[in-house]
């Protein structure tokens, strides 16, 4: 009898804890090694406390995750948190009532929040017009140039600081040494968005689109970038630049196979490269054109942010805030940074990584965050444009056509400008 009572008591108690535990769901787009680290963070978080259980769900690529959450939101079955990438930020931020701003969420749950705690390149990318943080920066990366140390030694050159140096010194030497000097994995992100930021050029009207969707126009059709793509085409013909299509890994593979000596990828590629590249590699800043600017500025962050979706109970929102607080703690950020190569998003985490000697052991791991901390300019905080996923696809299409000789640089940029502005005007009508 007593046994039964105890058993019943135990059952009741466990039922009570199960009921007290709030379950929250996170939809993300982190595959492979990155996904493993996300799961590790979730497991650690669930072990660290008893009130909240976080369930991470992998939803495919960035685009697929955004599509999935749109469908789920319309059906009223959205998760608590979704990871949305840079290009989709305008879509979710401009949608009235789709998200709970992370700043409000944290403050309501009593978690201290100061936007100044975040490193400068990260701070305002997912903020609204007033500077209020809407999405929690999660995996933040920036384009950096990786290089094969042996290849550069063989050619007797150092990694180029400017494109002028690349063209005159680095590329000819590397070509002579039997390498394709340069490849990159994302023309719109690296050679458009960050090209603008690195040279402090305006990318869109209305403060790069941050001060509202009304009348925002893209400013991509300028001489500096046209000159850059004219050079790219020329370099491709001369054998200075390898282009293997719009796919990310198609361009990374030849670097890993040591056919390409320098590859511009994401600072978040670092973790994967340490496993896949069977040679010594290092990294440096994204080069700039001296002819365009004498004072190069910082780059934008790429990657994605976590958004808390609306329509959830206060208890669940508090649970989300708890997870965000855990996620931004220096230790967790350092783990994320160390394992993946994505930059730590807070200053405290950066200090912890420095103190731990992470950058003494791997100097290349610091390049991304150092580049994000370079002097800022008027146009370097990011961009906010609607239907930007499509605008990127237009860019990719026209860049591909430039590089395969189907169109000219002038015609391509004219087409990008016209199509992007048409898309922006259309997007304006979806936001009321």
């Amino acid at each position: 009898m007593i046994k039964h009572l105890i058993a019943a008591g135990v059952l009741l108690a466990s039922a009570a804890t199960a009921a007290a535990q709030t379950k929250i769901e996170l939809w993300h787009a982190m595959g492979g090694r990155l996904g493993e680290v996300v799961n590790e963070i979730a497991t650690n978080f669930n072990k660290s406390q008893k009130e909240v259980e976080l369930v991470p769900v992998y939803k495919g690529t960035y685009e697929e995750t955004l599509t999935a959450v749109i469908a789920a939101f319309r059906a009223g079955e959205q998760p608590n948190i979704v990871q949305v990438f840079d290009a989709g930020a305008a879509t979710i931020i401009s949608a009235k009532g789709a998200v709970v701003p992370v700043e409000d969420l944290l403050k309501k749950a009593g978690v201290s929040f100061d936007i100044k705690d975040y490193i400068s390149g990260v701070r305002y990318f997912y903020a609204d017009t007033t500077g209020k943080m809407i999405g929690m920066p999660f995996n933040s990366s920036t384009p950096i140039m990786y290089f094969n140390v042996e290849a550069l030694k063989k050619a007797g050159v150092t990694p180029p600081k400017t494109w002028e140096e690349f063209e005159k010194v680095t590329a000819p030497a590397l070509k002579k040494a039997g390498f394709v000097p340069l490849a990159q994995s994302h023309l719109p992100w690296i050679f458009t968005e960050n090209f603008m930021s690195r040279h402090n050029l305006p990318f869109a009207s209305n403060d790069n689109g941050y001060s509202g969707v009304k009348g925002t126009k893209i400013l991509v059709n300028n001489d500096a970038i046209k000159a850059h793509f004219t050079k790219l085409k020329e370099w491709k013909e001369k054998g200075f630049f390898g282009w293997y299509g719009a796919g990310w890994s198609d361009n990374q593979a030849p670097f890993e196979k040591q056919e390409v000596a320098m590859w511009i990828g994401s600072s978040g590629s670092f973790g994967g490269l340490t496993k896949s590249a069977k040679f010594e590699f290092s990294a440096t800043y994204l080069p700039y054109w001296e002819a365009v600017t004498a004072k190069p500025t910082q780059t934008f962050i790429g990657g994605a942010a976590l958004f808390a979706l609306s329509g959830k109970s206060d208890a669940e929102n508090t649970a989300v805030a708890k997870f965000f607080a855990y996620l931004t703690s220096p230790e967790v950020q350092y783990l994320w940074h160390r394992e993946t190569g994505y930059v730590p998003i807070t200053k405290a985490a950066y200090e912890l990584a420095t103190k731990d000697g992470h950058y003494k052991r791997l100097p290349a791991a610091e390049i991304g965050i150092k580049q994000l901390n370079l002097p800022a300019g008027e146009h370097t905080k990011g961009y906010r444009m609607g239907f930007y996923v499509q605008i990127r696809d237009v860019m990719n299409r026209e860049y591909g056509r430039i590089l395969t000789g189907e169109t000219t640089v002038d015609a391509a940029f004219k087409a990008i400008e016209a199509e992007a502005n048409k898309l922006l005007a259309r997007f304006e009508k979806t936001v009321k």
């Binding site: 690529t61 685009e63 955004l66 599509t67 749109i70 939101f73 319309r74 879509t91 979710i92 401009s94 949608a95 009235k96 009532g97 789709a98 282009w243 293997y244 299509g245 719009a246 796919g247 990310w248 198609d250 593979a253 030849p254 196979k257 239907f387 996923v389 499509q390 696809d393 237009v394 990719n396 299409r397 026209e398 860049y399 591909g400 056509r401 590089l403 395969t404 189907e406 087409a415 199509e419 048409k422 898309l423 259309r426 009508k429 979806t430 936001v431 009321k432």
Partner: protein
């Protein structure tokens, strides 16, 4: 056909009801919704929408890229349909005359049919991969640098070849059964009258196959227009870039990847109209020339 007389007047409708219900739920309602959405610009998250009249249609039809995609779709469908039918017919005629081991031959020719389109696409992508693909290596032997995902024509060729490869077995099965249903007496009579097998084929066998051929033609055009989606998607590897694509794929890209519901709906309405026209044309123009036995 036999006329069936029902005792009560509602019974035939009751029998038809499930089918009609399915058609309404899965075809008419979504189609009506697409027509409605094509006149709006809608926030993807459902926040707001603006009535824009025929702006979506104007935007689509004045888009250079849309015209380019439409042109590609035309050539793609034409080539895929023609070659899947031609190769299948050739194989069927040859397999029909095989005497020893006929079954093994036929099974070998059919089994690609069992492969799901995305898997077929994947196998194709591996064969054509610009870094490790064996077909790319073969092309390199002839001094041609094949680059899928970079060169427009190479990518188009890969898409067409994979699509044809996937479709040939279906056509083969139909053609073979079509050939076997031609009465022996007719064939033997033809054999006595004409010694040239080439002429016999075109004057006797081919016309006898016409009903099968006509049916397959419609099936294949539909396949090339719509069912090749999976193949194109796999070859594209999630980055449309400057790669060729069909109209259906563009509907998906703009609507799902780009969250532009209005523009995507307008495109699908245009496509619906095209398919309707095509079907009417096929039945009116071609069926007249087909003789059913």
């Amino acid at each position: 056909m036999k006329r069936v007389i029902f005792g009560s007047s509602w019974l035939p409708y009751a029998f038809l009801a499930p089918q009609i219900l399915i058609v309404i739920i899965f075809f008419y309602l979504p189609a009506a919704e697409a027509v409605r959405a094509s006149f709006y610009l809608e926030n993807p998250f459902g926040g707001g929408s603006t009535f824009v009249g025929i702006d979506n249609y104007k935007d689509v039809l004045t888009d250079d890229n849309y015209v380019r995609v439409a042109k590609f779709t035309f050539w793609f469908s034409l080539l895929v349909t023609f070659f899947s039918l031609a190769i299948a017919l050739l194989l069927a005629v040859k397999a029909d005359t095989v005497l020893r081991g006929a079954k093994s031959y036929r099974i070998l020719l059919m089994w690609v049919y069992a492969i799901a389109p995305p898997v077929a696409g994947l196998i194709g992508v591996l064969m054509f991969d610009q870094h490790v693909g064996p077909i790319t290596d073969v092309a390199a032997l002839f001094g041609y640098k094949m680059q899928i995902g970079v060169n427009y024509n190479d990518t188009a060729a890969a898409m067409i070849i994979i699509s044809i490869w996937k479709q040939v077995p279906v056509n083969f099965i139909f053609f073979l059964s079509g050939l076997q249903s031609i009465p022996k007496a007719v064939r033997e009579a033809a054999q006595i009258d004409c010694r040239s097998s080439w002429r016999r084929f075109w004057t006797v066998t081919f016309p006898m196959l016409a009903p099968t051929g006509f049916f397959l033609l419609i099936i294949n055009i539909t396949y090339a227009l719509f069912d090749t989606f999976a193949v194109i998607d796999v070859v594209m590897k999630n980055e449309p870039g400057s790669n060729p694509m069909t109209l259906v794929y563009k509907v998906y890209l703009d609507g799902f990847r780009g969250s532009d519901l209005g523009g995507s709906s307008a495109q699908s309405v245009i496509l619906m109209a095209l398919v309707l026209l095509l079907t009417i044309f096929q039945f009116r123009m071609i069926e007249r020339r087909v003789h059913y036995t």
